[in-house]
Symmetry: C2
């Protein structure tokens, strides 16, 4: 059983994936991205993944060819879906069972069709599946948070090159999310306005860090970007939860996401990247360790964090949470805006 | 002038190193570690670095050959030593000038002599230079924090392979340090004991995560290690500041550090790594943004964080501060202890 362990100094939870049990010889140097070999995510190889959770299909049966987007449990899950949390102390430490969900959203049956190049209608379907899985997992009150994230390229942590997104449901709210919630709540208490709405308005007024200003969504390079060409995508109006996104907003998001992906791909020569959806925690599951926020519909604003992986993160960043970014976000936004598609 | 910018959502400072001004084409893929070419850190090339700040020399003049350890300003500094902070607001944002120090400690004149393989007496000299630079920079009241860190190997962020350590003095206390200080202070307020001392005692009692239990220092794999084979090195007794380390303790630390480096090198086949010294902020420089701690001699405990770089950090970790570690720290400690030197 994987374990969740709490660090009393940095106050963060860590998953100890004991069943992966990697030994000293299990960390190959310059891990090559598998190419040309067998791919369990390709159409026709459905029997090589665990049975599917859901799929968008054209009338074919589960675990058969004939799908457009397919969701399966991760074959090597970091967390296990069965069982109770069994929270316990070990001297000064806190521990619980590694209960959670770990799923893979296979974005397309085609091995080499990057999300950036998929038709708009297809990206809409992928986003609909994100929403469907999120809504479904939020019904499980053991799960405080559901994180949807994509790793593109080996240097961004992708172990398979076939386009896919991952989803992890956890029994704790991750530290970064708690911190964002705390900032947002402090701002709301003081001003009765959403912090994110205020920042988006200031950015739209200034314009210098805007990449895309759509009708419903904005894409911009944050004022204090940690990484070169980091991009923040958010609804222009106040919305606290990705689970509640409407079909119309979802279609607008697909268009903005596709444009961001294409601009990044062209401007930065198809770099490895990560993106992540930050949405509110599972309000049904109650307060989480470390979080002292109250109901947060009015003060949190869901968004996507998009990070091209252009530089190696060095010791300075790890040890301090203090980043050195060699590209001013105003410059990055300008390069991205001026990229011809 | 580089800028320091504050993120109002995640409440962290970022250095925007505008003078580096990296453009889209400036991020080469698979950046190769320079080998065989010219090295500005080698003996005889002293004129190729900025003039030295200090050095351990055998009677030779500054910026000449004949040194054992040499400290120079970073040729491409992330922060600049001259000028005032000029703190200012930009709408909802905070900004100040990127004032600070960025130095390189060249650990040896020999290009290929890794710190792990240097004689014990030489490692003692390197640590003495760390202390000397720290003490000197803490006199400057503009600097709230001095971070000493080493990147070994290109995958750990080292751009030159000649053994060196870096030092950055900053006008703000980094977020991770503030969080550690807050945890330590909360614990002290409640229990009138040091959190770190408590954890070290519990670890020595249990023994299962101990790598080295020396007379004055302990090396262990933390209970909630974020990374496989992560190691924590700290004085066994309570000491709050690396700047105040005695010569005798410094010699003990050199022995434990050398043993850690050798065990990691042998057990994990010379992996890339980072290490960082976490010590208290500059108490002379006053409170820092984000920190609400009081005087902290009694509750903070300096230590070294040592991280082999064995896995790619993926989107999940970036976006959440929530880590998946595939090796249980008890297993890692056992492998390291059982490595024959």
């Amino acid at each position: 059983m994987p374990e969740l362990r709490h660090d009393p100094i940095q106050r963060r939870w860590v998953i100890i994936a004991t069943e992966r049990g990697r030994r000293p010889d299990d960390f190959p140097r310059n891990e090559p991205e598998p190419t040309g070999g067998f791919c369990p995510f390709c159409e026709g190889n459905e029997s090589k993944t665990p049975p599917e959770i859901t799929a968008i299909r054209n009338g074919t049966g589960a675990n058969q060819p004939g799908w457009e987007v397919r969701v399966v449990p991760n074959k090597f899950p970091a967390l296990r879906i069965e069982g109770g949390l069994n929270r316990r102390g070990i001297g000064a430490y806190d521990q619980m069972n590694g209960v959670g969900a770990h799923e893979v959203i296979i974005e397309t049956p085609k091995h080499s069709l990057q999300l950036a190049d998929a038709p708009l209608e297809h990206i809409q379907k992928v986003l609909r599946i994100y929403r469907e899985r999120l809504v479904d997992l939020l019904r499980d009150q053991r799960f405080k948070y559901v994180l949807i994230f994509k790793n593109h390229g080996a240097a961004a942590g992708a172990s398979l090159s076939h386009p896919h997104t991952q989803l992890i449901a956890t029994p704790v709210t991750p530290l970064t999310i708690s911190e964002e919630l705390n900032s947002a709540q402090d701002h709301y208490r003081e001003k009765e306005r959403c912090l994110f709405c205020d920042l988006i308005e200031q950015e739209l007024d200034s314009g210098q860090r805007i990449v895309i200003a759509g009708d419903q969504f904005v894409a911009l390079t944050p004022f204090a970007s940690r990484f070169p060409f980091e991009i923040f995508i958010a609804p222009r109006n106040h919305h606290h939860s990705f689970a509640e996104i409407t079909d119309s907003m979802l279609n607008s998001l697909a268009a903005v996401l596709k444009e961001v992906l294409l601009r990044v791909k062209k401007c930065l020569k198809d770099p490895p990247y990560n993106f992540l959806i930050h949405t509110i925690p599972n309000l049904q599951a109650g307060r989480s360790h470390g979080g002292h926020w109250e109901t947060i519909e009015q003060d949190y604003h869901w968004h996507i964090e998009f990070i091209p992986r252009l530089t190696q993160v060095a010791g300075f960043e790890w040890g301090t949470g203090f980043y050195i970014n060699p590209t001013a976000p105003e410059e990055a936004a300008k390069y991205l805006r001026e990229t011809e598609l």
